[in-house]
């Protein structure tokens, strides 16, 4: 077992543990904090994949924006759940069965697949090539159209969120 493998196991354990805490934590605020830890763990997992750009992006977007948004929402709506001690709904055994069944199914499928053995591909000198990623996103031969559609989606989501949450009818 190499050092990197140990590091990965640590990261995975921490991430999965905090993910469990996200769904198990009693208070929403704590769930959000655990979520942040889980997201940082995922960023670390990206780092072990030598995708440093996405590792940093993960922190910037998820921790810097999405998690803060979630915390905001949790704060704004905190009164609602205070008098209800149960955090899971009545159907949670069925949900556990569904999630567990899915995991079992996935693991079973993995056990029959032999494509794991392929070694990681070589990266150019100096890690991933961000310039290539940028070109792929903006070149007409690449993914220009999906990229533009994604940006359009963001704008639409932004306007929609403002409209929905802004209560413009007043």
């Amino acid at each position: 077992m190499t050092g990197l493998q140990v590091v990965f196991l640590l990261i995975g354990a921490v991430t999965l543990a905090s993910a469990v805490m996200v769904v198990a934590a009693k208070r929403v605020m704590h769930a959000a904090l655990w979520l942040i830890l889980a997201l940082v763990g995922v960023a670390a997992a990206y780092a072990t994949l030598e995708a440093s750009f996405f590792a940093v992006m993960q922190v910037a977007v998820y921790v810097g924006a999405i998690a803060i948004l979630i915390i905001f929402a949790a704060m704004l709506t905190r009164r609602s759940m205070e008098d209800d001690p149960a955090r899971l709904n009545k159907g949670w055994p069925a949900a556990l069965l569904a999630a567990g069944g899915l995991l079992a199914g996935l693991v079973y499928l993995f056990s029959r697949w032999t494509g794991f053995s392929s070694p990681a591909r070589a990266l150019p000198e100096g890690g991933e090539n961000i310039a290539a990623l940028g070109l792929a996103l903006t070149a007409p031969e690449g993914f220009l159209v999906p990229f533009e559609v994604a940006s359009l989606l963001l704008v639409a989501a932004m306007i929609g969120a403002i409209y929905v949450a802004g209560d413009l009818r007043k």
Binding site: E50, A51, F54, A65, A74, T77, F147, A157
Partner: protein
Amino acid sequence: MIPLSWYLIFAACLFCIGLFGVLARKNAVTILMGIELMLNAVNINLLAFWRYLWAPKADGQVFVAIVIVAAAAEAAVGLALIISAYRRRQTVNANEMDMLKG
């Protein structure tokens, strides 16, 4: 080197935990957190496949970028909906949002 299967199992576990959160938690905000976990699991898979089967071509990374964009959009709209629902119904309990009428 870490085997590819570790990443896949890791992502599968994360996905299923997120799925459980989505299916079982009462609070709509926590449900959204579960969705974020699931999306992250997907991203891990995408990046792992990119790293092991596709690098150094950037095609696989593009999908990750787009998933992140979709996640940001989803969080913005979802939280806006939750806040809007909270403002009208004074609740964020997903079980209580079962009326078609607003």
